[in-house]
């Protein structure tokens, strides 16, 4: 187990690799802090959309018993299994100006490429499937009879979710949010096609690598890791602590 863990963490040693003096913002093209801001704000918005849209879908998929749920599950899985680059190309075509949705949005002054909307929409597409799959498993872990009992005690469906389903599936929801966060924040293949600008951290790292070499990549890479990893950990620890408090 120790050997496996060490092997798993070994790539982090790369942070100490001899790549020359790290070049921070100002000495390289583009803006490191601007990329951080773009990633944090727009990924946050995408994550909120994941939760708002994905939670009812996850609930439906975990509780519905009809044959049609197989179709809905397949649709969700397609978004999970789609290669990111392919998804980016398809999104840019499907929402491009030559297609009606893209043309309509453009007429409203909402460009569907190289814009914050394109950035958020792409992150939503790449992450919502992961959120739904994880949230669905979390909800499925709550016995449906507990929900029925709560309903027979007079609680409406949303009250049952708030007072029974969510508290009991808290850890699973934390995992779902963490997964969606990491997936959206780290997205490169689709984003680089649909939203090269405004550049988030992955694209900015790519730009730095192309234009200024590894020494310009390392600072942003370090910031990227510091931002990407602690939030899922924090959410997970918080959910665990509240879970154990509730069970104490």
């Amino acid at each position: 187990m120790l050997a496996f863990t060490l092997a798993l963490l070994y790539p982090l040693v790369g942070l100490g690799a001899p790549v020359g003096h790290w070049r921070w913002d100002g000495s390289i093209p583009g803006s490191t802090m601007s990329a951080v801001d773009v990633s944090l704000v727009l990924t946050g918005i995408a994550l909120v959309l994941d939760v708002i849209v994905g939670t009812p879908v996850a609930w439906y998929l975990s509780r519905a018993s009809g044959r049609d749920t197989i179709l809905w599950e397949a649709a969700v899985l397609i978004s999970v299994l789609m290669p990111p680059l392919a998804l980016g190309i398809l999104l840019s075509l499907a929402f491009g100006p030559s297609m009606e949705p893209g043309a309509w949005l453009l007429r409203l002054g909402l460009p569907t490429s190289n814009s914050p909307i394109a950035f958020v929409a792409t992150q939503f597409y790449v992450s919502v499937g992961y959120y739904i799959v994880a949230a669905r498993a979390a909800i499925a872990g709550v016995p449906i009879d507990l929900e029925r009992t709560a309903a027979l005690l007079g609680l409406r469906p949303w009250q049952v979710f708030r007072r029974i389903t969510f508290p009991l599936a808290r850890l699973g929801f934390a995992a779902a949010v963490s997964l969606a966060w990491v997936r959206a924040l780290g997205e490169f293949g689709a984003i680089v096609v649909t939203s090269y600008y405004p550049s988030g951290m992955p694209v900015q790292i790519w730009i730095n690598l192309q234009d200024a070499g590894m020494s310009a990549v390392m600072p942003l890479l370090l910031i990227f890791l510091l931002i990407a990893l602690p939030l899922p950990w924090a959410i997970h620890l918080l959910a665990q602590r509240r879970g154990s408090d509730a069970h104490a």
Binding site: P143, D145, L146, R148, T149, A150, A151, L152, L153, G154, L155, R156, P157, V160, R163, I164, P167, L168, A246, H247, A248
Partner: protein, 233 residues
């Protein structure tokens, strides 16, 4: 307290359930029969867990079926073999779970009585997941009755309890039924328990009521050999 009128038709694997019931307010009826005869399905349809294929169910002015009334709008208490306590909540929070704000305010003396009679006081702040099986049964019973429902359905609620505990709970249910006047339908495979709980019984075989009346009538002249075998001492 409303009258219950029900005609439940539902296809099962071995037979077609077709049962008609009419209970005036405050009546107590036992559904009695062999395992798999359809007793629990009747209760499940009344509670709304399962939907009938056809028929009608009405409790006073409230139409329960058709269409299938959502669970949260059914004025029904349903206790099954499993307690289904909410494990993340305390015993007290479980008992008062179904009470809305104004109901909680007026329910003080009633909650105190439930608490005292079922000896829940020392457990009140315990986590529900930590109480024993017998205690959990009492919590589930108190939670079910806290709302003072007009119709109570009991589906083998005394499984896995010892005789003194069953005796105690049956006494408590009878006392509260007399005080609150709720209509009661109980299912159990042990006729001794049902006879204490309900003065009348409806015997079900393969989804149909084969005989209905006071227990003495069923025991003196059982309508079918299966019923005679079930009632044999």
């Amino acid at each position: 307290m409303p009258t219950l009128e029900a005609h439940i038709v539902k296809a099962r694997r071995r037979f077609r359930l077709d049962v008609e019931l009419r209970l005036e307010q405050g009546q107590r009826l036992a559904l009695f029969g062999a395992s798999g005869a359809g007793k629990s399905t009747v209760l499940s349809c009344l509670a709304g867990i399962e939907g009938p294929d056809a028929g009608r169910i009405r409790l006073g002015d409230t139409i329960l079926y058709p269409p299938n009334l959502p669970l949260h709008r059914r004025p029904i208490a349903y206790l099954t073999q499993n307690d289904w306590l909410f494990p993340h909540l305390s015993v007290g929070a479980n008992v008062t779970f179904g009470l809305r704000g104004h109901e909680t305010n007026g329910a003080g003396p009633w909650l105190e009585e439930l608490k005292e009679r079922l000896a829940l006081g020392p457990l009140w702040n315990e986590r529900a997941r930590e109480v024993s099986g017998g205690q959990a049964r009492k919590v589930a019973l108190a939670r079910m009755l806290a709302r003072r429902p007009p119709l109570v359905l009991l589906d083998e609620p005394f499984t896995a309890l010892d005789h003194p505990a069953i005796h105690d709970l049956v006494d408590a249910i009878l006392k509260w039924q007399a005080e609150l006047g709720f209509t009661l339908i109980a299912v159990d495979h042990r006729n001794q328990i049902l006879e204490r709980l309900c003065p009348r019984a409806a015997a079900i075989e393969d989804g149909r009521i084969v005989q209905e009346g006071p227990w003495a009538e069923l025991e003196d002249a059982p309508a079918t050999p299966t019923l005679a075998a079930l009632l044999a001492p």
